[in-house]
């Protein structure tokens, strides 16, 4: 088992009101089989035994699906690997002697809760504004009543697999939530069950995102490059089309 020695420069911030600062923490003897979060576990065990407070970071599934984890590693959301969440990033991608700068997502709409933990409740607000199909439990017809072309379902699934981690916002120079939002708009606009509300949905979600303080899209494509689920910005294009249809009234079908 190979091991490497690293130096971490980690953002430490007690709470929202604290200003925060970078702290240098050595991370010696890290096995290259570890995940990034397991590396942080090891550092935290040591801090704990030294009577210091461990680094706070969000995580839960540790298999790249819950969207809970995430931090900027050397300026890159979820670190250097493509299509990878921080929990799925393995230490074999780093070299002995590396210094890693680890910081929380930064965006006007995401306030730091503590250290690497941020408040992403703005995403929930966007979904609450319209990211659903208004079909209450109990009234559904048979599941096979409406055929959906395989390609359409697959394309919807490409969008629907967004994990809501916030890397797109953190990577965007404007801290825009367009990729996140478009993933939901696109998923539901593609599925026939989502069509009846398509116009209302896109307008309401865009309004909510503005109210939360997310920025606009200026086609930087950083979001797409850092999305751990590799969600494409073509969904933003589809959202824009849905928006145009909604504004000009043709989406009310």
């Amino acid at each position: 088992m190979a091991t490497i020695n690293l130096t971490l420069k980690v953002w430490r911030q007690k709470g929202q009101k604290d200003k925060g600062r970078l702290e240098t923490l050595p991370a010696p003897g890290i096995s290259t089989d570890m995940s990034f979060l397991e590396m942080l576990d090891v550092v935290n065990e040591r801090l704990t035994l030294e009577g210091k407070e461990p680094v706070a970071f969000d995580h839960d599934c540790r298999e790249g699906i819950c969207g809970m984890c995430g931090a900027m590693v050397n300026g890159l959301a979820h670190g250097p690997e493509r299509g990878t969440t921080l929990c799925q990033l393995h230490m074999r991608h780093f070299r002995d002697g590396d210094t890693l700068m680890i910081e929380p997502w930064r965006a006007r709409a995401f306030k730091v809760v503590k250290d690497l933990v941020v408040d992403r409740s703005a995403f929930d607000k966007i979904i609450a504004a319209g990211g659903y199909v208004s079909a209450s439990t109990g009234g559904a017809q048979d599941a096979n009543a409406i055929p959906v072309p395989m390609e359409t379902a697959e394309e919807a699934m490409d969008a629907a697999q967004c994990i809501g981690c916030g890397a797109c916002v953190a990577s965007c120079p404007n801290a825009s939530a367009m990729l996140f939002m478009s993933a939901k708009v696109s998923h539901l606009a593609l599925m026939p069950q989502g069509r009846p509300e398509a116009a209302r949905r896109v307008l309401a979600m865009l309004r909510a995102a503005d109210a939360c303080g997310f920025g606009n899209c200026s086609n930087e494509r950083e979001c797409e490059a850092k999305c751990p689920k590799e969600i494409k910005i073509t969904h933003i294009a589809r959202m824009n089309r849905e928006y145009m249809k909604a504004v000009f009234g043709s989406a009310r079908e």
């Binding site: 088992m1 007690k14 709470g15 096995s31 089989d33 570890m34 995940s35 397991e38 576990d41 090891v42 065990e45 801090l47 704990t48 035994l49 009577g51 407070e53 461990p54 839960d60 599934c61 540790r62 298999e63 790249g64 699906i65 819950c66 990878t84 799925q88 393995h90 503590k114 992403r120 409740s121 979904i127 609450a128 504004a129 990211g131 659903y132 199909v133 208004s134 079909a135 209450s136 439990t137 109990g138 559904a140 017809q141 048979d142 599941a143 096979n144 055929p147 395989m150 379902a153 697959e154 919807a156 699934m157 629907a160 697999q161 809501g164 998923h187 593609l190 599925m191 069950q193 989502g194």
Partner: protein, 637 residues
């Protein structure tokens, strides 16, 4: 105590509809006068919260994560069962019912299982109506696959992310109700106690995980959907925050805990790589549809897989179980993997792994087909292990995955505490001693979408529930108990980290209360758990303060409860003098090493009553009556 299941009698096919017809209804105008507390927003809690709010109840929903969209349910990969019989391959409600009862080794309640199978089809209808992009065939109709030991194709899926799509669907339904003002969401909260007034569940005490503040919440009923306790083993496929705390605190308040020894080991997980390992990753068992499981015939064969010729490979599942082959149920597949590794035929650096090989499937169907079916799983495997499963066989080993045991509930999903309902993995109800693949998602959603909306009404309509004040002594008492526990945890200031003690507990249980159990090992657990508990309360080191975002404190509270719960699990295992499903006591096995039940003496649910910190818990039984299926020795030959 007599455990009354309240399951209706008569023909099993009509029990649920007759029951529904007899349940009292709450007048629509009155529904808005009721506050329902839903703890946990995974599939079970999320679907319950959405559906109850749609009916007009005021729902207060709680979860540990920063958003309900992140509950552990999100990680489910393989799929969800439903008796739709779309493939025309002979499936039916009856067959799903029968398979579930048999798969559970005849240790589940017939009425509940039948209802589950009956409801299964409505779940798929609802989920499709919500826009879930399930996999489809070229004609645009829904695709099905066979899964985890079923001989029909009844599993619906959305790539390898079925749990994600189902959970996001519940979450969106909930958020719609948040916007409508019918659900109030309390994320980053941990329930620490149940509040009982006049013998009924009337509220909870929860810790705000950001500020550390203890909050009191009152309601007319409490719905607990807090998931399973697999993390008692430290290493499991569960999410890191999965815990027994909420269920255990309810248990201490009087809810009986049923069958805690029924734990499920999943056969296809990525093997442990070292001491730093924090959790185990599941490789969906849908992989067993196309992958072939094998080990070398020779002991200690260290050749690379590709260098081992065909006639020196032992496809042991195909050899021993010709009709089910690689698709035998989980417990059987897991035990066989352990057995070949115990024989010294395991592979990989630790010898604790077997191969899952796609070579033949790729040759037969082409790489593109395999990629479409399993691409994301293969990518995940490669990310973790740096091996490419398209060219070298995967290595897998069993791991703790699911817990069939849980709080005892009746047919209405109500625990032994009136007004406390328990849903999803947190209850014990439908899977007996072993759960079939793709049935947990089905159960969680059945409970939340289609059972609780009816049964809770019956309770509310038929019960006098005067307003309770947050200043009631029961609230004060629960809050001061929670505060005292926090104070004690922070005051230990010992020298060992909580993780370190948890790791020791996990090791002890995995070795002695895991895949293979025996009396001596279980006795050892019973002796060592109290020692570890002592060690914890004397020597644990919990940094930080009470009034802060303190993840070490959260973890310590959960481990403290695991340390109490572990004793009950071993005691339950030791008391059940038989093997069944996931509970395999080596003393009770057939000549073919299958679990040997004792239907004469153990055809019952064991439900434990808490009697105080230093008292022995009391074991109650609910006899299981089988009127519709004949008890048989499971055979997958």
């Amino acid at each position: 105590m007599k455990l009354e299941s309240h399951a209706p009698g008569g023909p099993i096919e009509t029990r649920w509809s007759r029951h529904k017809n007899q349940i009292k209804l709450v007048n629509p105008a009155n529904k808005r006068k009721y506050d329902i507390i839903v703890v946990g927003t995974g599939l079970a809690g999320g679907s319950a919260a959405a559906s109850l709010a749609e009916l007009g109840y005021n729902v207060k929903a709680f979860c540990i994560q920063d958003s309900p969209r992140r509950a552990h349910s999100i990680a489910a990969q393989g799929g969800i069962n439903a008796a739709k019989n779309y493939p025309n391959d002979g499936d039916s409600v009856w067959r799903l019912f029968y398979d579930t009862v048999k798969g559970g080794d005849f240790r589940a309640r017939e009425s509940n299982v039948y209802r589950l199978a009956e409801i299964s089809t409505a779940i798929i209808d609802h989920c499709v109506a919500q826009g879930i992009p399930f996999a489809r065939d070229y004609g645009g109709l829904l695709a099905n696959r066979s899964f985890g030991g079923a001989q029909v194709s009844r599993t619906f899926y959305a790539r390898g992310q079925t749990g994600q799509q189902l959970l996001l669907c519940c979450y969106q339904g909930m958020m719609r109700q948040v916007a409508a003002g019918k659900v109030t969401m309390f994320p980053r909260r941990e329930m620490l106690d149940l509040v009982i007034v006049d013998g009924k569940a009337r509220g909870i005490v929860a810790r705000n995980l950001v500020t550390g503040e203890l909050e009191r919440h009152a309601g007319h009923a409490v719905v607990l959907a807090t998931g399973g306790y697999g993390n008692v083993f430290y290493l499991s496929t569960n999410a890191m925050a999965s815990n027994v705390t909420a269920a255990w605190r309810c248990h201490k308040r009087g809810a009986l805990f049923a069958n805690p020894c029924y734990t499920q080991i999943h056969p296809t997980c990525i093997p442990v790589s070292g001491g730093h390992q924090s959790k185990l990753t599941l490789m969906s068992e849908s992989l067993r549809n196309d992958g072939r499981v094998w080990v070398p015939k020779k002991q200690g064969d260290t050749r690379a897989a590709a260098d081992i010729p065909e006639d020196e490979r032992d496809y042991y599942l195909e050899r021993k179980y010709p009709s089910f082959g690689n698709l035998v149920p989980r417990d059987v597949a897991s035990r066989n993997a352990k057995q070949v590794c115990d024989e010294g035929r395991g592979v990989g650096a630790t010898g604790l792994a077997v191969y899952l090989d796609f070579r033949d499937a790729i040759q037969r169907d082409g790489r593109a087909t395999i990629e479409r079916k399993y691409g994301n799983l293969f990518a995940m495997y490669e990310k973790i292990t740096a091996d490419d499963p398209y060219t070298t066989p995967m290595m897998i080993y069993p791991a703790i995955h699911y817990t069939m045991g849980g709080l005892w509930v009746d047919y209405n999903l109500m625990s032994t505490i009136p007004g406390l309902f328990v849903l999803g993995e947190a209850n014990f109800s439908d899977h007996g001693a072993n759960r079939l693949g793709a049935s947990a998602l089905m159960q969680g959603l059945a409970d939340g979408y289609f059972v609780i909306p009816y049964t809770i009404g019956g309770y509310l309509a038929g019960t006098a529930l005067p307003q309770v004040s947050l200043e009631h002594a029961a609230f004060k008492d629960a809050e001061s108990g929670a505060k005292e526990q926090t104070r004690r945890l922070l005051a230990i200031q010992g020298r060992r980290t909580v993780d370190d003690i948890h790791r020791a507990l996990g090791r002890l249980l995995w070795d002695n209360c895991g895949m293979g159990r025996n009396d001596q090992g279980l006795q050892e657990v019973l002796q060592k758990v109290p020692e570890l508990r002592d060690e914890f309360w004397k020597n644990a080191l919990v940094p930080g303060g009470a009034d802060d975002f303190n993840q070490s404190l959260e973890k310590a509270g959960r481990v403290a409860d695991f340390l109490e719960f572990a004793g009950l699990m071993a005691k339950d295992a030791l008391t059940r003098r038989e093997s069944c499903g996931g509970h395999f006591n080596e003393a009770f096995q057939t000549e073919e090493n299958e679990a040997l039940r004792d239907d004469e003496n153990f055809c019952h649910v064991a439900a434990w009553e808490y009697k105080g910190p230093d008292a022995e818990p009391e074991r109650h039984v609910e006899p299981l009556v089988f009127e519709n299926v004949t008890l048989a020795q499971r055979s997958y030959k």
